[in-house]
Amino acid sequence: MHVIVMTRSTPDTAAKVEVGKDGNVTWGDAATVVNPWDEYALEEAILQAKNADGKATVIAVGPEMNNDALKHSLAMGLNEAVRVWDAALENADSLAYATAAAGAIKKLGDVDLVILGKESIDVGTDQHNYQIARKLGWPMLSYVSKILAVDYAAKTIKVERLLEEGKQIVTSKLPAVISVMKDINEPRYPSFIGIRKAAKAAIPEWSLADLGVTLPGTKSKVLAFSNPPAREVKVEMIDGTPEEQAAKLVDRLLEDKVL
């Protein structure tokens, strides 16, 4: 059994992210972290591999800074890590990213399950998740909050999905791609030994030629980044007894036509 998980390095949420003088996004010297949603995917991949006596491999598509996320993943207990990078992927859109990711997954051979974090906080989207599934031609189960049953021999999986309106139980054939939510597990912290081992690991880098993949061409382009307009908020503190505060606040909200 072989499970694949995708990850990426993103700036720490607490970091001050802004547009630098060169027009690119910068977060100064702030450290990167594993994309917060991916931690649940990484943990689930470790658990699935352990339960089925299989192997869990982590892939990142991106420049060298993504090795930090891959080393964190290895330190958590992923078996192997690969990074895909190519000059042609510079400024790539989600379609190019997904094409490269699917190429790497196919190159790894007998893959049963791909686990993804719900979204990526840097690009602010989840679109690449569904595009990876389509490029693989495998079913996609998104927003998975529980894996209820999985049979790698019979190639079936049964999951609970957390939707806006409630919980849905779905079955699918394997191989499949799933994206997981926060409450699926409690991600572990890397152990000290894990961190030491991961620090020494050499992470192979695959080019598009290694994958035998041609990109569909970049279809959407980023033109510019800008800092959002400053939020012109000056807080108005409301004093008095709770009843007075309530009355004043409702007055204000009605004046502002918020209600």
Binding site: T13, V17, G124, Y130, K158, E164, T171, L223, N227, A247
Partner: protein, 346 residues
């Protein structure tokens, strides 16, 4: 003939109201491009929903009603959308970026190797036919301006509540064309076994008002009954149910929560707002007993008006709030509920 396609999402045979926002944005694009605005409705009751779409500005509609399309599944929906795009080559496919729409449009854009821009907050048609958009990235800390490719179909998903629906024209009619589904049940790898609807809750994603609680919900003055496993958790749960929810009910609001409240077991994860939870942008966000950690801000900073109620005047939430009240939320929220009831005549 070329067109702007708008996917109208349905749930249990009813249109998801935020879909009308996509017809609003779609109408502007279609008029600028001088091409028709076509509503796509798949699944149960599609014909009736398509008729309503006409009143919201669709010129015509393409519908498919089939058992394979009852309840959203990505495979049959994406296969059908992709087939329609391949056959008819629309200029644009647009939808409001609900969880299902993001999935559907991303999948079909991948199938057709087309450009896709998501979480769009502003859009503008350029003279070469490419659509230029603004979208938030890095948890709203940065705005990205991006452009699709006019050479092919441009897929767009809109951030909810960023665009306005068209005014309703109740006598407007659309030509409705019926198409067969692309996939048969045997070709579909996923099967829906069951669905358990969350009872009486308002969808956070498209709520106009959200009332959220944080760690401060634990300061409930009520005594926990003897024998409960954890008195603090009981107090906070009781507070969400009997203090916050009545306020939400008066306002027709959704109930949100901070990660701290979710992780402490005060309220289920489905209510979490912020990083690793939901991103929301209501007209009014009432944060009670929430300190406003950066992870929470990431999910609600685009709310139009923020009201903060917290006992600690130094909480970061006051830095982003329009109105602040320092005090005991267990005194202020009930007073607020009573006041709203009185003023809104409920």
């Amino acid at each position: 003939m070329s067109a702007v396609y708008t996917w109208i999402e349905t749930f249990n045979g009813q249109a998801v109201p935020s879909s009308w926002e996509a017809l609003g944005a779609g109408r502007t694009l279609a008029d600028s491009m001088k091409i028709p605005l076509v509503a796509l409705v798949f699944g149960k009751n599609a014909n009736a929903v398509a008729a309503t779409a006409a009143t919201y500005g669709a010129d015509s509609a393409i519908v498919s009603e089939d058992a394979t399309l009852d309840g959203f599944r990505l495979e049959p929906f994406a296969a059908l959308l992709t087939q329609l795009v391949n056959e008819n080559k629309p200029k644009v496919v647009i939808a409001v970026g609900t969880s299902r729409a993001r999935e559907l449009l991303a999948a079909s854009a991948a199938d057709t190797d087309s450009s896709l821009l998501t979480e769009v907050t502003e859009l503008e048609l350029q003279s070469d036919g490419a659509i230029k958009v603004s979208r938030p990235v890095y948890a709203g800390k940065i705005v990205s301006q991006a452009v699709g490719s006019a050479d092919g179909t441009q897929y767009l998903t809109l951030r909810g509540r960023a665009f306005k629906p068209n005014a309703v024209k109740s006598d407007a009619k659309a030509d409705i064309k019926t198409v067969a589904p692309t996939l048969a049940e045997n070709d579909i790898a996923t099967k829906i076994e069951s669905f358990e609807e969350a009872v009486g809750s308002v969808n956070l994603a498209d709520a106009a008002i959200i009332v959220s609680g944080g760690r401060g919900m634990a300061n409930n003055p009520k005594d926990a009954p003897a024998g409960v496993a954890d008195a603090t958790v009981w107090k906070a749960q009781d507070g969400f149910e009997n203090t916050l929810k009545p306020l939400a009910n008066v306002l027709g609001a959704a109930v949100g929560a901070s990660r701290a409240a979710v992780d402490a077991g005060y309220i289920p994860y489905a209510h979490q707002v912020g990083q690793t939870g939901k991103t929301v942008s209501p007209d009014l966000y009432i944060a009670s007993g929430i300190s406003g950690a950066i992870q929470h801000q990431a999910g609600m900073r685009t709310s139009k008006v923020i009201v903060a109620i917290n006992k600690d005047a130094e909480s970061p939430i006051f830095k982003m709030a329009r109105y602040g009240i320092v005090g005991d939320l267990y005194k202020i929220i009930p007073a607020l509920t009573a006041e709203f009831k009185k003023r809104l005549g409920k």
